[in-house]
């Protein structure tokens, strides 16, 4: 859903400069994991506001339902049971698009205008321009976008860009019963987070902190974590997320070629395995990156 074109900061696969007349503030959604009770009201609100419905699935042995993000579930709660130092914790994290300042999906996207970043920080998919190639999936360091089997388009959280455009908080924020999801300017959210972190430290969580990872230029969805030193405890939230080197390559030296590729020129050899299956590949890439990191 579009904000005004005046608000566009970046478009995928587009070289013309963005409009710069309008000044706007950056927004952010802050998810205070320490106040989240995993009630899934956010999931319900997301489905209702966006008129999407997932399948009635199965229980697969955990509380997570739907079991993963899908083209119809743009946010899911992920429950993980962690036992450290003789203390059990049930860490519940609302997963979904992080709206990176430096969005890997947008960088990876070869379809002009299929992915837009607005000046307020929201990264939005414009499905009418989407070609269903799945590059956004491999470009995403958080494994968020999903391709619909029905229409071969990519879907993910829009941060309710339609609501935000008319000064309303995202649907999940409005529905959250405990105030665990807050919304406002990124600055205000950081201030709020600082207070929450202080409270958590007083309660014995020495490593409490804000998750706003620098590797993707910061995000417009941030978390307050009790264990900011171990984000991976929260169902594998990446410690140092960054854009896959393959995407960097695509974005850099090979970008002009790649643009041509849309017209049918071969870069397929570089990306052919990307086409096989976005999730799988993104894991392969992750594994590669991890290997590199380890070295």
């Amino acid at each position: 859903m579009a904000l005004q074109s005046l608000d566009i900061k970046q478009r995928s696969a587009t070289t013309t400069p963005a409009p710069q007349a309008r000044q706007t503030i950056e927004v952010a959604k802050l998810i205070d994991v320490s106040a989240c009770i995993g009630c899934k009201a956010c999931q319900v609100a997301c489905m209702e506001w966006n008129d999407v419905r997932d399948e009635v699935g199965h229980n697969v042995g955990v509380y997570d339902n739907p079991a993963d993000l899908t083209e119809n579930s743009w946010t899911v709660m992920r429950f993980s049971e962690v036992e450290q130092n003789n203390k059990l914790e049930w860490l519940i994290r609302k997963d979904g698009c992080m709206h990176c300042a430096d969005p890997g999906c947008l960088k990876a996207c070869p379809a002009p205008g299929a992915i837009i970043q607005y000046a307020n920080g929201i990264v939005d998919f414009h499905q009418e321009n989407c070609i269903g190639c799945g590059y956004c999936v491999s470009g995403c360091p958080f494994n968020v976008p999903r391709i619909s089997k029905k229409d071969s388009k990519a879907y993910k959280c829009t941060l309710c860009s339609d609501r935000v455009a008319v000064n309303q908080a995202p649907a999940c924020v409005k529905a959250c019963p405990t105030g665990a999801i807050q919304f406002g300017s990124k600055e205000d959210m950081k201030d709020y987070a600082a207070k929450r972190v202080t409270d958590l430290k007083e309660r014995g969580f020495d490593k409490a902190g804000l998750y706003d990872p620098a590797g993707v230029g910061g995000t417009h969805v941030m978390y307050v974590l009790h264990h900011a030193d171990q984000p991976n405890l929260y169902s594998g939230l990446p410690v140092n997320p960054s854009i896959s080197p393959l995407v960097a390559l695509w974005k850099g030296a090979t970008k002009p070629l790649a643009t041509l590729a849309l017209a049918g020129v071969a870069l397929g050899s570089l990306f052919h395995y990307v086409m096989k299956g976005p999730n799988e590949v993104s894991k392969e890439i992750e594994a590669e990156v991890e290997k590199e990191d380890a070295q």
Binding site: I37, N59, P177, T178
Partner: protein
């Protein structure tokens, strides 16, 4: 709730036991988070499972299901042994100093007066010592061995931390840590709120679980305080409202106990229910019982209720015995019932022992189901494979379904857990031929009345003479009904102190129950709701959120019963001189001429502190009860008894007395004792509960809820899973002595095996929402497993602790 939802934000410690508010009351739970964020409150959770509430708690301790009294008895002992009491409060505002009958005894788990054959107590010794004026004797030094304080100490001295750990399986250090949090609120300016729900009520000792907390909160001086209280979290909207309006036939609206066969006339009935003050100068508010009752009779029978006919007392039905849910289904099971009206109720799913309930329904001639949905109950006769294995050819019951509107399809009120009555407006029309419940009942009533007029009958008056003064008799409006419930003056109501002064003009709506009279000059359909629709209009529709005190009292938002009071017993928030215990959170104070402050005083407004009118005005003693006299079925002090299905072969508190294994005063029907399973066949403790994603047996019919939690599952700990070779996601079969269900295994670290009296006890957790009708995956009804036995006082079934076995399906 003695307090209310918003007031939770005023607490220093939020103690959750017997409830799981983050799971079952996520919206109200926001006030717990507020208390944590803004008051640095500590959240402490005691539960068999590390649940959603525990996930945001500061401290969690595990407990074996059904051992809450042992735990809380341990807390009482801790407070007494470590002198963590609010002394002035205990001395003045509780019955600690009252002397108890010398014949009162407690021996090896049994109180004096037990009759084993009847499974009931004679309670002659469970009473105070009285002086010649009929007032209770007290010893203000609290030293007399027969004073309540000393008896309390003696009774709970057995509940040592070691014993608690042995019975509950709670590690001793965890128990002591919880005690420390609780004890920190003995300081006059610190409060603890207690949040509980069905995790306490759904036991054969349910009421006594709550009594334990009453004792604790009185010892700590937390009753009447902002951020204090005992707060029952009510579930289904509008379950508080329906309870207020006589959920069971045992009460009339406003908790007036209903007439029975033992009350042949009005004088006898009133005589038994109108207490005398047990201490001098106390308000003894229930002395007004005749006013409440007479006004109710006038509402129902109007001009047909006169002094000469005892205000139509003879028209009221007289109960011949129990009429709780278990007794109803037991009579039905025994073939003693012909027809059954089932309105907003899905008993096949929600009552214990589904097989017995199904068999009972099959003995009816007819059943009328008034509900917005096609419920499991309405299709109890229909085979759904192994989920509902019945043969319709063997079931003669004729079922009528009358589609009712949902709450959003008509106007009316909801009363929330905090007793706040809030008007709600109709949102949409109901689908198809659905009708409001009131319209359905009106149609039935008018038809009955017509049939009595035409055909006569043995006793037509109760129907024929009932007041039915609605503009459209077939369609009473919610506004008319609420005005009627509030009541009005039939003649001028005069000031008893100055009969020349008219307090309420004839015909006017009454402002409060203080105006009710027992001479037939007032009407009131429910005395505690009096004031909800006064001459000022519909007070339940008020929506002014202003909160000058900052305590969240919002006195102009809706209407809280009684008389818009937000915190019950609020006189106890101030010391004897009328000064608030906590000056930062003052609820009430003596201003020099009257009681005033941030709430409607729970006290005669002009009762000077030196008059020593005590805060617990509904008790004839005027004070809170540490010793509950003859008011409970199984004893004046709560004692630990094992669930009827216990994993132990004895009560570890009374290993040598089989009579004291389980609640000696709980009622067990013929056949049900035999249906209890034994630990050798069913070695695991099971407990049932609700999930955030669902709402009882209703939302399984809604697609979005089904997406969020699609299928029956069963939670077990990792250790048990390993023993049984069960992996997460496997299908498992869970059996009790009454049947079996299947579900998906959720294997979790959140349920641990507990060390109980030297043996390992595993807990199996079973959510209760699923069934064979709905959008969720078709499944079993959890209550196939649960035992048909209830709390000795309320008969609420023991859904929370029973025995099962589990295997890979």
């Amino acid at each position: 709730m003695t307090n209310h939802w918003v007031d939770i934000k005023n607490a220093d410690v939020v103690f959750v036991m017997g409830g799981n508010p983050a799971e079952a009351h996520p919206c109200g739970f926001k006030w717990v988070i507020e208390a944590k964020k803004n008051r640095k409150a500590k959240l402490v959770v005691v539960d068999p499972r590390f649940n959603r509430t525990a996930s945001v708690a500061d401290y969690y301790a595990p407990i074996r299901p059904g051992t809450d009294i042992a735990f809380l008895g341990g807390v009482i002992n801790y407070l007494l042994a470590n002198d963590k009491l609010h002394h002035d409060y205990v001395k003045a505002y509780t019955n600690a100093s009252f002397l108890i009958d010398e014949g009162f005894k407690f021996e090896d788990g049994i109180f004096s007066g037990y009759d084993e054959a009847k499974r009931a107590y004679g309670k002659d010794t469970w009473k105070y010592q009285f002086d010649k004026d009929g007032f209770a004797k007290v010893d203000e030094t609290l030293q007399d061995p027969n004073c309540v304080f000393q008896l309390l100490k003696k009774h709970y001295s057995r509940y040592t931390p070691e014993t608690v750990s042995k019975v509950c399986g709670t590690p001793k250090d965890a128990f002591l840590k919880v005690c420390e949090y609780i004890a920190s609120t003995a300081a006059p300016d610190r409060t603890m709120t207690n949040l509980y729900a069905l995790g306490w009520t759904e036991h054969t000792v349910g009421s006594q679980n709550i009594r334990c907390m009453a004792i604790i909160q009185l010892l700590l001086g937390n009753m009447g305080m902002a951020g204090g209280g005992i707060n029952a979290l009510r579930g289904h909207a509008n379950v508080q409202g329906i309870t207020d309006f006589a959920l069971y036939a045992q009460t009339l609206p406003g908790y007036l106990s209903a007439p029975t066969d033992a009350d042949p006339d009005r004088a006898t009935y009133l005589g038994k229910r109108t207490p005398k003050a047990l201490r001098p100068g106390q308000m003894n508010f229930p002395q007004n019982f005749p006013k409440w009752f007479t006004s109710l009779c006038k509402t129902w029978y109007g001009d047909n209720a006169t002094k000469d006919n005892d205000f139509a007392y003879d028209y009221l039905p007289k109960l011949s015995g129990a009429s709780d849910v278990l007794s109803i289904f037991n009579s039905m099971y025994e073939g003693k019932m012909t027809g059954f009206f089932c309105q907003g109720f899905n008993p096949l799913a929600s009552v214990a022992n589904k097989k017995k309930v199904g068999d009972a329904l099959a003995k009816l001639k007819y059943m009328v189901v008034i509900d917005p949905l096609a419920t499991d109950t309405s299709e109890f006769w229909k085979p759904y494979g192994e989920f509902n294995a019945v043969d319709p050819a063997q079931i003669p019951t004729e079922v009528f379904r009358l589609p009712a509107n949902l709450f959003a399809e008509h106007a009316g009120t909801f009363t929330n857990s905090g007793r706040v009555v809030q008007w709600r407006w109709k949102a949409v029309d109901g689908p198809g031929d659905s009708k409001d419940d009131t319209e359905i009942i009106a149609a039935l009533f008018l038809k009955l009345k017509e049939m009595y007029a035409k055909d006569g009958g043995a006793f037509p008056e109760p129907i024929q003479k009932l007041t039915w003064a609605y503009a459209q008799p077939a369609k009473p409006s919610p506004e008319e009904l609420l005005r009627e419930i509030n009541g009005k003056a039939l003649a001028d109501v005069l000031d008893p102190k100055d009969p020349t002064k008219v307090l309420v003009k004839a015909g006017d709506q009454l402002p409060s129950f203080a105006m009710l009279r027992d001479d037939g000059s007032t009407t009131c359909g429910n005395w505690i709701y009096c004031g909800v629709w006064s001459q000022a209009g519909n007070n339940s529709a008020r929506r002014d959120p202003s909160d000058p005190s900052g305590l969240g009292q919002t006195l102009n938002w809706g209407f809280a019963w009684p008389v818009n009071r937000r915190i019950l017993y609020n006189r106890a928030s101030a010391d004897l001189a009328g000064k608030p215990w906590d000056p930062k959170r003052p609820v009430l104070r003596w201003t020099g001429t009257a009681w005033g402050g941030n709430d409607v005083p729970d006290m005669r407004p002009d009762a000077k502190p030196e008059e020593n009118v005590m805060p617990f005005i509904m008790n004839p003693e005027g004070v809170g009860r540490l010793f509950s006299r003859e008011l409970m079925a199984e004893g004046p002090f709560p004692e630990h008894y094992e669930p009827f299905e216990t994993p132990l072969d004895k009560n570890p508190m009374h290993p040598n007395n089989p009579k004291a294994t389980s609640n000696p005063a709980a009622r067990v029907y013929k056949g049900d004792m035999e249906a209890f399973g034994k630990a050798k066949d069913f070695p695991y403790v099971a407990t049932t509960y609700r999930l955030t994603e669902h709402f009882h047996y209703w939302t399984k019919q809604s697609t979005i809820n089904a997406i969020m939690q699609p299928e029956q599952f069963v939670e077990i700990g990792e250790e048990l899973a390993q023993e049984k070779g069960i992996k997460a996601g496997d299908r498992v079969k869970v059996r009790s002595n009454r049947g079996f269900i299947r579900g998906v295994a959720v294997v979790t670290k959140r349920i641990k095996a507990l060390d109980v009296d030297g043996r390992k006890v595993h807990t199996v957790g079973i959510p209760t929402h699923f069934g064979f009708k709905g959008a969720t995956k078709p499944g079993f009804i959890t209550n196939t497993l649960t035992p048909f036995v209830g709390d000795a006082n309320t008969q609420t079934p023991e859904y929370k602790a029973f025995l099962v076995n589990i295997e890979k399906a």
